[in-house]
Every structure is written in C-alpha cells, then in structure tokens.
Subunit: 470 residues, 4 copies
Amino acid sequence: MGLRTASEYRESLRDGRVLWYRGARVDDVTTDPELSIAVEHSALDFVVGHAPEHRGLAVTVDPETGEEYSTYYRIPRSTDDLLDRMRLVELTTALGGTLLSIKDVGSDALFALQTVLQGEELERLMAFYRHCRTNDLAVAVAQTDVKGDRSKAPHEQDDPDLHVHVVDESDEGIVVRGAKMHTSLTPNANEVLVLPTRAMKADDADFAVAFAVPPATKGLSMYVSPYSGGQRHPWEHPVSSKHKMLETLTVFDDVFVPWERVFCYRRPELAGPIALAFVEYHRFTAISYKLPLLDALVGCAEQIAEMNGVVGAGHIRDKLTQLVIYAETVRTLCEAAARRGRIGADGFCRPDSATTNIAKYTFATGFHQAVRSVQDCAGGILATGPGGEDWDSPDVRPVLEKYLRAAAPAAERLAMINLISDLTVRDFGGYHAVLAVHAEGSIEAEKMQIFRAYDASRAIGLARRLAGLE
Amino acid sequence: MGLRTASEYRESLRDGRVLWYRGARVDDVTTDPELSIAVEHSALDFVVGHAPEHRGLAVTVDPETGEEYSTYYRIPRSTDDLLDRMRLVELTTALGGTLLSIKDVGSDALFALQTVLQGEELERLMAFYRHCRTNDLAVAVAQTDVKGDRSKAPHEQDDPDLHVHVVDESDEGIVVRGAKMHTSLTPNANEVLVLPTRAMKADDADFAVAFAVPPATKGLSMYVSPYSGGQRHPWEHPVSSKHKMLETLTVFDDVFVPWERVFCYRRPELAGPIALAFVEYHRFTAISYKLPLLDALVGCAEQIAEMNGVVGAGHIRDKLTQLVIYAETVRTLCEAAARRGRIGADGFCRPDSATTNIAKYTFATGFHQAVRSVQDCAGGILATGPGGEDWDSPDVRPVLEKYLRAAAPAAERLAMINLISDLTVRDFGGYHAVLAVHAEGSIEAEKMQIFRAYDASRAIGLARRLAGLE
Amino acid sequence: MGLRTASEYRESLRDGRVLWYRGARVDDVTTDPELSIAVEHSALDFVVGHAPEHRGLAVTVDPETGEEYSTYYRIPRSTDDLLDRMRLVELTTALGGTLLSIKDVGSDALFALQTVLQGEELERLMAFYRHCRTNDLAVAVAQTDVKGDRSKAPHEQDDPDLHVHVVDESDEGIVVRGAKMHTSLTPNANEVLVLPTRAMKADDADFAVAFAVPPATKGLSMYVSPYSGGQRHPWEHPVSSKHKMLETLTVFDDVFVPWERVFCYRRPELAGPIALAFVEYHRFTAISYKLPLLDALVGCAEQIAEMNGVVGAGHIRDKLTQLVIYAETVRTLCEAAARRGRIGADGFCRPDSATTNIAKYTFATGFHQAVRSVQDCAGGILATGPGGEDWDSPDVRPVLEKYLRAAAPAAERLAMINLISDLTVRDFGGYHAVLAVHAEGSIEAEKMQIFRAYDASRAIGLARRLAGLE
Amino acid sequence: MGLRTASEYRESLRDGRVLWYRGARVDDVTTDPELSIAVEHSALDFVVGHAPEHRGLAVTVDPETGEEYSTYYRIPRSTDDLLDRMRLVELTTALGGTLLSIKDVGSDALFALQTVLQGEELERLMAFYRHCRTNDLAVAVAQTDVKGDRSKAPHEQDDPDLHVHVVDESDEGIVVRGAKMHTSLTPNANEVLVLPTRAMKADDADFAVAFAVPPATKGLSMYVSPYSGGQRHPWEHPVSSKHKMLETLTVFDDVFVPWERVFCYRRPELAGPIALAFVEYHRFTAISYKLPLLDALVGCAEQIAEMNGVVGAGHIRDKLTQLVIYAETVRTLCEAAARRGRIGADGFCRPDSATTNIAKYTFATGFHQAVRSVQDCAGGILATGPGGEDWDSPDVRPVLEKYLRAAAPAAERLAMINLISDLTVRDFGGYHAVLAVHAEGSIEAEKMQIFRAYDASRAIGLARRLAGLE
C-alpha cells in the first residue's frame, strides 16, 4: 500500500472512536464543524505526498522494495537525513499556518523506541513501525500522565490511576488504566502510541509501560479541549479559522492491549531512556516546526511597520532587527543541531543534544519578548479593531475603509493586523505562547539537558592550561 | 445633586446614542447581552460611593458647600491627594477584576485642561467640570486620531478627516469632522471629551481642537470593537465574563459643538501642552490601575505552584521571586511618583514625571516576561484543559475531578488555571498584553519623557567634580 | 569626649597592629605610600563632623546629656532616622569618590546586635557600643569565615580553623582561632567586631561566637590584599589615586578576648539571627552608598556623549535613558525601604526587608549592563588612550591636545575618559563590579530574602477572590 | 622566501621606528621590558608555521609554485577555506591566551581591498599583497581616524588633520597628514596599511585614501597606550603577564607615500565600500578569535565552582548553563557564517554578513553579563585576595595555604581565581570588556548591518500569504 490521499485519511477516522467535546459525545470528527478543521489541517500531510512540487521532500522510496513511503518514516541515518526531516517539518508547518501537522510526533517516538528497545520488545515495535509506515498511518503519542501531586512519585500518589499503569495481564495481553493529558492529535490519528512520562525506579514498575492502540479501542475515551474553539470568522482569524490542533485528556479505563502491541512492560529501567530518546528527536522536530512561526513574526512586524508608515523610525528598526536576530539564531542553531548529528552504533543519526536544547531554550525564552516587539510595531488596534461582521457589513465597511487606512489601504492593513492578532494576541496567540513554554518539555528541562549534554572538556582544558594547572 | 447610584447611571445611558456592534445597530447598551457586561463593570464606580467600607476613599465633601462628590473629581492639591487617588484607582480596579472602571480617564483630562487653559477657554472648561462633578457624570476621553500615514503631519494626509478637525463655525458654535480610535468607555459614558492627539504647528490649526459632547449628539457614531466579545462561560472566564471595557472607533460626521463646550479652538500651540498635561495625569492613573493586575499575577503564580505541588522547586521559587520583584518595583515607583509630586503655582499637585514614566516603562517592558513566568508555573493545561460545558456535564465532570487534581482538588486547581488562562492566555489576556504596550502612550514615548523629565544636574555635577572639571 | 578630628583618627592607628602587605610587615599604616590612601579616605568621616555645611547631617546631640556624637551611631527610631542615615551615607560616599567611608559597617553591626542579644550579653554589648560612640571610634566588622569547602558545615571541615572558633575559656575570657576574609577597613579601624557568618546548629556551637578586639591585640594578624594597589597617576586614576578601601585576610591565632567583650558565646541559635539582623541594616547601608556610584555612571555617560558629539544619536539617548531608569529605580527603592521602615517593640526602626533586598538585587543584577552602556557611550579610547606620563610630557601632550579633542577640548574629554576608565574598566572598576555581585551578600541570598520577606497575603487574597475561591 | 621564524620576525622589528611610551622614546620594541611582551605574543604566529602539530592548519602550499606561505594569506575561495581560517584564528588565539595574534587583521584588509579595487589600483595592491605573503610579513591596519566632533563630516572639522588626508602630491607619490587611533599591533608589525574609516561624499575626497608604509617611515610616529602595562607578577596575572597587544595613536606628519603603495587616492566613492568590505572579513575574524575567550569563561566558571564546592547548587548550575548557551550560540553562529559563505563573481568567498553580524552582536551584548556570572561563581576573593609577593613570601604563603583552600588546595584554587581575575576583573579584563563593545565596529553598527544584510523575502512572503495578501 502506498501513500494515502487526504480523503483516504479522512475516511480512516470514521471508526466509532469515543470523543467528548464540550460535555457531549461527537460521532464523527470529520464532520463536526469545529473539530473537522483539525482534520483538514492534518490532511496536509497527506496532500504533500501527492503534490508534485513537494514529493521530492515528502516521499521516500525504499531502495530494496521500491515501495514509496512518507519521508516522515525515514529513519535518519545521516546528518543529511536530519536536514531533510527539518525541511519537511518546516514545509508542512509553513503550509499549515505555523501549526504542526500530524506525522511528526509519532515518527519521532517510533525512532526513539527503536534506539532503546532490544530483543522481543524491539521485534514487536519493528512490526508496528512497518505497519504504520506501510499503511501510511497517522500516529499520535500519549506521554504526559496527569501526574497528581508533582512532588510525589507515581506509586506515592493517593490514586494510582494518576499515571497510566498495568492492572492485569494474561496470555493474550495486558490491561491498563489511567489517563494522559496534553495528548495532541489523538482525535484525528490512526494509532495512539503510549510512552512513559519520566524516569522511574523499581517501586514504579507498574507505571513503566509503552504500547499502542487504535483510538477506537474499547475503554479508551478522549476529552477534547475546547481551547481556542468556537466560531471563527476567517477575516478576524486568518490562520486559526483554517488550522487547528486538538489536545485531549485521554482516559484508559481498563483498556486491553494484546502482547504484540506491548513494547515495554514493567521495565522501570527503560522508562527514563525511552522518555529521553523521544524528547531528543521530538525537540529537534519542535525547533524545526517553530521556524515558520518565527519567520511569520518577522514578516508581520516588517509589513505592519511599512503599512503604518513607521518603518523609518529608529526604535522600530531596532525592534525589527531584534526579531531578525531571534529568528535567525534559532534557525542557525536548528541547522547546526542537524549538521552536528552523530551516527550511533545502531546506525541512527541523532541531532546533537546540546545544540538542539540550546535552540529550543532560545526559542522558548525569547518568544514572549518577540511577541511584544511585534505588538509594539502593530499598534493598539490589535485589541480595539473591528471584527469580521463589521467588515462584511455594507454600512460599516466604508467607514473602516475611510478611517483605518494608513500607508496602505485599510483592507491590506487590517488583513495584516488580523494576522498579527490571531498569531500573538487572541486565544490562538496564547496557544502559541503556552506551547513555547511547555510543549516538548519545560524550559527547566531544556536547561538541565544542556548542562548534561554539553561536552565541557575543551573549555575546562583551556581554563586549566591558562591557569597553569596542566 | 449627589452621588448617583448604579441604577441611575444605567438609566442615564438610554439616550438614543448611535452604537454599532458586529455590523449592526445596538439600541440599548444596558440590555445588550455582551455590551451590558461593560455597563455593569463601570457601574462599580457608582457602587463604591454608597458602600460604607469604601466611602472614605470614594467620596469627598466640598468644604465650602458641604456637597458630597466623587473623589475622582477632587483636584489634587497635595501629595496626599495623589496617594488617595492612587488608592481609589487601585481599589476600584481590584474590585473590577484588574480592569479600569470609568471615572478615572475623564477626570485626568479635566485636571489637565485646567492646568493648560486660560481666560475664556478656562471658564468654559470650569463650567463643564462643575457640570460633570455635580451631576456625577462618567466622562470618556477621545484623543487618538486614526492618523493615516504615521510619517505625515495631520495637514499632509490625503484625507483631512484622518484627524478630527474643524469644518465650519458660526455664532452658535463649531462643526467638526473626523474619527478617533481606541476611545475607551464611550458607549457607556455620559460625556465624550475630545482632546488633540499630539503637538502641532501652525499648518495644523484646524486640527487643534478640544471640546465635549454627549454621546447621543447628532452625527456622532460609535463602532464598538468586538474584540474579546462573545459568549463567555463564567467557569472558563472568571474575570472577563464579568468585567469588560469597550473601545470604539468614534466618528464625528459634521458634529455641531456649541461654543460653551469648545475648550480649545484652532490653537495649535496648545495641542502639545494639552496632550502632555493629560498624559502626565493619565500615566499616573495607569500605573495605579496596573497594580491589581500585577498582584493578581503574583498571587496566581504562588497559588498554582502550591496547587501543582511544585512550590519547593528552585526554579519555581526563582520565578515567583522575579514576579514579586517586578510587581513591587512598579508599586514602589508608583507611590514615589505621588510622594515626589510637586505643587505648581496653579495649586495643582502633579505626580513626578520622571518617576511616573519610569514606573510605566518598567511595567510595560516587563509584562510579557511576567506572563511567561506565570504560565511556566501553571503548566500546559492553560491551553489544553477542559471547558465550562465539560465541567457542567454530569458525564465529564467526574472524570475531570478524578484526573485533574494535584496537590489541591480539581475544582480549586481548575478555578486557578482558568483565572490564569483568562488573565494571560486567552483573548482577554491578549488585551492586557496589548494594553501594556500601547495604552496611555507607547514604550518609546515613555522613554523619551524620562529623558526629558529627568533632572541630570546632580549626576552631571558629581561626574564633573570627580573628573576634576569643576 | 566629642567627635574626633581627622588627625586624632590618624594618630589612633599607630598602635603596633600586625599588618602584612605584599609579603612584608608594614609598621605604620598612616605613612605607607599605598595604604595611607585608605587612611586619608576614611578620615573623611572625621572631617564631615567638623565641616559646618555637613554637621547638620553628621552630628547628633544626645538629648539627655547634650553630648555630641557621630550620627552614624544614632539608633534609628523612626523612618526619618533611616532617611537621615541614608543621606549621610550617600553624602560621605559622594565625597569619597563612590567609595564607602568607615563608620557605616560597624554601626550597622552594633545596631543588629542590640536587636538580637538579651540579658548579660546585651549589657556587655551596650557598654561596648557606648565606648565606641563616646570615643568616636571606627569599628570594622569581620564576618565572612574563610569557609573551606562550601558544601560542608563548619564542624564538618577537615580543619576546624576554617571558621573562627573557641579553643579555650577561663574566668578571664575566651581564646579564639581561625580566619575571616573580605574584612574591609580593619587595617585602619579602631576596633574589630567579629560576627558569625551563617545559621548554625548544635554541632557548630564552637563556631557561634561574637566579640570585639582592638586591631593591635596579640595573635591578630591582618594580610592586606594588594588588589588595585600600586602607583596610581592621578591623571589616569582620578578617583582611585585618592580613595581606597582595604580588605584583609584576618587571622586569629589563639587570640584572648576578655568576657566583657564577648557578646555571643557558643550560642548556635543566635548565629543565624545575628547574621540576618546585621545584613538587614547593612544592605540598607549598601544601597545608600551605591547611589553616588550610579549617579556617577549617569553623569559620566551624559558628559562623554556630549563631549564626543554623539548625544543626539537615537541609540545613545536610549542608553542614557536606560542608565537613568536603572539609577532612579535603585534610588526610589532605597528611599522606600526607609519610608516603609517598621518600628519594633524594641524601639528600633528597621528598613523594610523586601524593599531593601529588591533594591540591592536591582543594583547588583543591573550593574554590569550599566557599565557596558557607559563604555558604549565613551568609546574604545577607554582602553587604548594615553597615560599620565604622556600627558605630563611636553613632547607628547601637544600631540594629544591636537588629536584627541572632539566636541570638547582634549583636556576635558580625557579627564572624563579617565574617570570612566577608573570607575568601570581598570582594576578599580573591576573592584566595583565584584562588589556589586558579592558585597553585603550574594545575589542569590538577596533573592531568597525577598521571597521570605515579601508579604504575599494581598496578592494571594486577590487571586483567590478572582478565582472564586473565597 | 618561506615562512619566517620567530627570531627572524623579532629581528625585523629593529628598524628605527619612532615609538613613544609613557612620555618617552623607545629605541627597541623587542627589548623594552613591557612592550617586548607584545612582540613575544605576536611571535606565536611565526611559531605555529614551524610546529609540526600546527603546520597543517598554519601553512599553505601554492599549487602552482610549490611555495609555502602562511595560511593567513590564503584567499578564501570556498566555505571550507573560511572554516579553515576560523580554526587557524581560534588556534592561535587559544595559544595566545585569548588574545589575537598578528597576521589576522592585515590579511583581512588585503582580501577586502582585492574585492573592491580595480585597474591600476588593484595591480598595485596585488603587488603589495604578494610582497607581504612572500616575505611572510606582519601587517597592521590603521583605520579609525581620531575624528574630532563625531557629529561632523571630515571636511567640516575645525582641523582637517582630524582625519588622515592628502596634503600634497607629485610624480613620485603623495604626502599625507593626520592621525589614526586604536591602531592595534603597529609597534610590532612590518607594514602599516591605512584604510578610510567611513563612507564619504565628494567634499571629503582628500580624506579618501588608502596606502601602506613601513612603520619606520619618516614622519610616522606611534604613541603606545600604557593601558594594562606595568609590572605584572605572573602568579597574579597568569595571562596578561605573557600576552599583550599594543595600540597606538599613529600620527602621520607629512608622510610621503610612493605611488606604488597608494591603493586609493581621492576616491570618496570607494571609501564606504572599502570600509565595509574590510569589516565583513574582519568581523568574521573577530567572532573566530572570541571563541577561546568564551571557552575560557565557561571553563573558569566550571572549575572554580568545583573548587569552591558549590557546583551542586541550583543557581550555580543555572549560571554555568547560561554561560554554555552563550558560548555555544556564538560558536554555532560563527561556524554558520562560514558555511553560508557565498562565492562572488570575483572568486572570493565571503562569510554570510547577516550571520557574522548576529554572531558579533550576540557576543558583544552578552559579554558583560557573562562576566558577571563568572564572577558570581568565583567569589569576592577576586578583588580581595592575596598577591604574588604574598605567595612568594615564606611567611605568608603557609597562612594562605591553610586558610584559602576549599574543595581544592589553595594553590589550585588561587591559580584559578587569579586567571578569572586577570580575564574579567583587573585591567586586562576591562580591556576584553571594552573590546567586546568597541572592537571591529560598535554594537549599533552591527545592528544596522544585520538589518541591511538580512534577506527578508521568505519572512515577508510567508506573512503576506498567511494574511491572504498574495
């Protein structure tokens, strides 16, 4: 089977999965007026595989079988593979209006598991990987447990269900219970791949499980966040009316998983390595998919400064330059993370961890400040301007056209203002801001990983030599 | 006539004023389901005048007539008067859920005009001031012209209407045309006071006008921004479902103003002084009304860190401490701006300009970073959590209660998460962020005023003495 | 006995104290060519007591006895007393070329001990306090132990001498051994007051001692740091050639202390409170004495920008404004720390701890950046310019006068350049930079104290009310 | 002639050049006790050419003639050439204790001139380039005019000599007068290459000159800055006692230059392009030579944290991580500037301008903050510790050994403290700080060049597409 089309993808989601939205069941995610926006957004990953101008980047041919498959599933075996993956993620995110598409996260997790697992567990995983790749599936990852009190380990919580855990096993498989949160893309994925959330010790063995189930599996319920939902006038929300990513609280209520889909079973010693291996690939994906967002901020600021007639002001140039420095520094670090990738004994090329995390940290700590600069160039009209119904009204639009033009016609200027407001001010902007701080690990986690991954020998050697200590 | 009640205030708004909202006319701002939230919010300023616990701060007695009037209208004649005004603004903003109430801005402008005007213009203004004070009116200020191309002066614009200007005069009064934007509170005010937006030269004489009209004046139309409008579930939006401020594009289509309400007429030399005098009082109001917002950020971060069980982590303590430093520095500067106030020959006590602007600049440049720290303490659930309809559902709420508790019950934790999301992530949070950058003048304007207002003599004298140059 | 004169002060230092400098003994600190600069600098505190223009601030009259004494010794009993102390410290530091004089630190410690001690220990301390005040003595404080491995408690160190500790006691007194470092002003003080350096537990009882000895006490040796010593041409070093503060490694080699001078003896429970009480007064002194340094930076930047002819450039104005904001924010916080002072049951007025520490933190974290801005305004000539011998040379000076003038004559411009280089670039500048980070406690200590001292009730109350939790 | 030895280099400097130091003439720069340190430092560039382990990087073979020459003179024709140059500069700077050696700057200028000049001027330059390369000369660059009032153009200054200019011409050559400042390395170079300092217009034709002269040319006088001079005990100053760079005020008092050494003559239209072309190569050199300094800061902070026993503290780890992020970001940007290099029609590969300037800007704006972090890890002993004569004294050293050890012996810890103090606190540290701000152009110049060089088309295209404007 080759690369699926967008309509095949859509069709595959009509399987009776249990979705709750705004307090009620949703029968079909592809037809719900709000949720279907996310389906259409993710369909992009299936469109590029058939678009002549993108196939070079999006499609890979298996050298042995001649089979075509999505490049997302191509195991990175060289720094060029990493650069290609970076470009593919950047491409689909740019097409997706600064929002990640759907095949990125799952393939990150499938690579990570291959680098950690061994023996029978690895064989099961490889069978699942081939299943996903051959059938061109969209795989969501459920990793973050709901956790309860953050100051306690999984087994110390009042309620063991606060981390997904094993409650039974048999010859056929295992039964799991608990809930994951922040699980992106589950409502419109074909598989849910479950990973442990953190390093664990022997006491936490029941919580050290990794497995995969289809979303329509009995006992699995997904509660979709209504954040940034609701009717969105396309004039007011030029991006978020067309692009959307869904997050769920994903509840496993005694879900049965057959052994062939269990990849880690009561192995606390693997929980930390799996989590780390995943995040290493996934943070590289993250910095790749942030690049269009940063480009958009730079472009928005430049354009609105032009349209407002203030691009010549010194302080505006200063803000534009700061935005360029920020965006280009993240881009440079992202490329370097790929170029410095190292090929392990297992043949996997991993992005350089220190560089990846420095890139992510630079992005995450600079985002809110960058947003401020863009808002500063744009003006207060970001939060006091007219709405789509005003623009549609034959009574009101002429007033807006007369009074809200500047060095550009009102139509152009308001289009840019609405874009900036959508990306940085309104709830979709807030979504980007929260993701900057929390997605793919916290700022603190990135800092710790930089400290761990950095090879200090050159610096220490130089300091000691200069101090006369060698 | 004494202090009005909230219901008298509400009643006074039913006067046929021309309001447009979402492309259509609104007949009665007090009954419109969305706009009436703003009316109820502003009614707070009329409630405090009758609340025994607040009357000490909110009500002033005229020593000569014994008449009671709103303290907002008390001319500051001492640094204690400024401190009282600061406390009153802080009180009503705290009651108003971090949002300014309604009497602040207008009284700032009325003070400013009294310090700049002279002769007959001052007499007219004083009559208007007494009218507002005696009748306990809510006065909105319309200052920011729509401006067109920011690189050109008013008279250089293609369309002279891009700044409000005089188009005719007669023995009875003048006729004005043009539009102001970012005019806060106009839909639910009793008077609209119009000020020039910037310094002007002789060529711009037609644009150098200040006057007042009631909102229901013929030719005056207000186009209300739908920003942050729409249905707001009170569980999801604990603040913005109850508190709201309206901004309009305010169009003057050949509006007649009788002479007794014209306070500045074709006097370009007064435009700059009026704008500056207004902003000096208004920025002091601004830093006063930001204090509850900053306190709320500190309190939110501390509470959610406790509820998440992470308050003991070093990096969380660091973020909490940074928030305290930020909030307390702005508060200290605000108090100092009052304490350093100087009484002029006209008997008006003005807050210290350098200190006021340093406070405002510190607030404005630190806000986005502070928001990031709060979001960091709270977690990704800010943008992936459940909604009000989920919480209301008997099917969903038990799931949320089970899985979304941490070191506090889910009900408390989600209440705090919703508050943080409302204040910092969703569109109301974006509103606060844009206001931080743009309201009461830009960051650049604050910087320029600091440079102008700072008395460098002590610093220069010391440097020259140490350099041996004196 | 009344206020001493500078020459009486000088004379009092010739007592056979054991001073080492650059590997050799120094017989008389008042005549050593390098060390005597420090004596002359500290003599300032004795000059102001006799200068008519400063006596109002520098001299206090005992209301009961009519005796005059140095205001440094006046116990602060009101916020006005704190403001007076702030002004006195600021005055003498400005006269002292940005460098602290000598009576500040000792009086801080004497106040602190009075607020912590009780019973017989307090009586001994009061006798010592009266002795110092009546005889107008200069009291140095030795607090920071050399510490050894910072990850271990005093009693855990390999060598117990790494913290000053008791080695013997008798009816006459105690014998102590160990060493303190960073002890400022000891070589030219009349008394050395020793305080414990940190909180201690029962195991550390031997280290929990406080006492006072004259510098010439047997067994006491002081090793003066040569940092920033050496010949200093006054043209090149306009400040550091005239002003100097000495730090010593202060070794107690079985020093006998009579009981009447022992203020804390094996009382580990008092070690933390003493250290904290001292730092609370001393950090307030610190922010007071930093004000002239910050003023000097502002003045230097403004003057050199004028002299270079670049004061009109936008980015230079930006830097000047940032410097003003920095200096004025610290000043405002310092004043507020005094104004918010609280009078305890013991009658002592203490500066507000949170505000004091925010001021200190703001100073400490902003200093290096401020230095960068000043250097930016001044130019590379700071580190590539001519020296005093060049300027003195009849061959070279005309070349410098011709070529190194700008918008001011070379003589003036180079005087200002030399001042900036002395304050921010050369070793004296480095001294200020290291003091910014480390003096009166580390940045981290300031942060922790802010967190501890801040009263969060208003912020938490507001957040909980807005979240509907009260 | 092949690569010179260090002693040949030394010998070549004994030519009667006119050097002034501390108000007096210096006869021989190679024997002066202070200035000879700089000669020995620069000799490094001649040592590496004969060191087997460095010849691969330091020596290039001409493919046509088989002649060996210094790699510094290799014209970059590919991104690999740029990377090699970066590594060579980094190598010699690391060997040179964080200080640039001598062949870098001159070769940057020789490349730049080749890319701008044409016709006869280019031929003369090429002859000079071959002369320098063949004879393995050290070429200093004199670019920055003394400038006078920065707000005026060269021809507007009171004294035309404030910029180097032509005063006469003849068939043999031209005569120039004026002075350059900040001219590094002139006292120990073999040639002085003079470039114009800025863009010029027709009025400034007399100032638009570029030429080369040997330092011993009649009329040429060099006034060496005494900054950071003086006796330096090697224990106290482990780097600056061995490594030194000299700057001079370089005066041209009617200096005759023969035509074959005149490369630009009264061509104001070339002044800007030459200055820009030079700075583009030279800023790339700059970011290459800063890498060892940044590595040294990282290594110093890590080592002293270990030695103090505080490496486990959270806030120390945070500072170490910030230092790593800073150093690695600059390194990554530097490498990317080379990798993104573009080969022009002239065959020269130029480092990417936007990336180079972002690297330089990141370095320059982060340096003071990085210094603060290193100082924070090290402790106040940086400015209060013992000196070399103390360490040499048999009386004092035992005291220091006993009391100043921590988690490492005093000898090691003090060696590291002295290194940190030398690099960041004392006058040599101040030299690095001033260079960070001013060398190779100001921070403001870097910002302007980033804005100019950045290709905004991708960002603008994306923003316009998302706004629906394409």
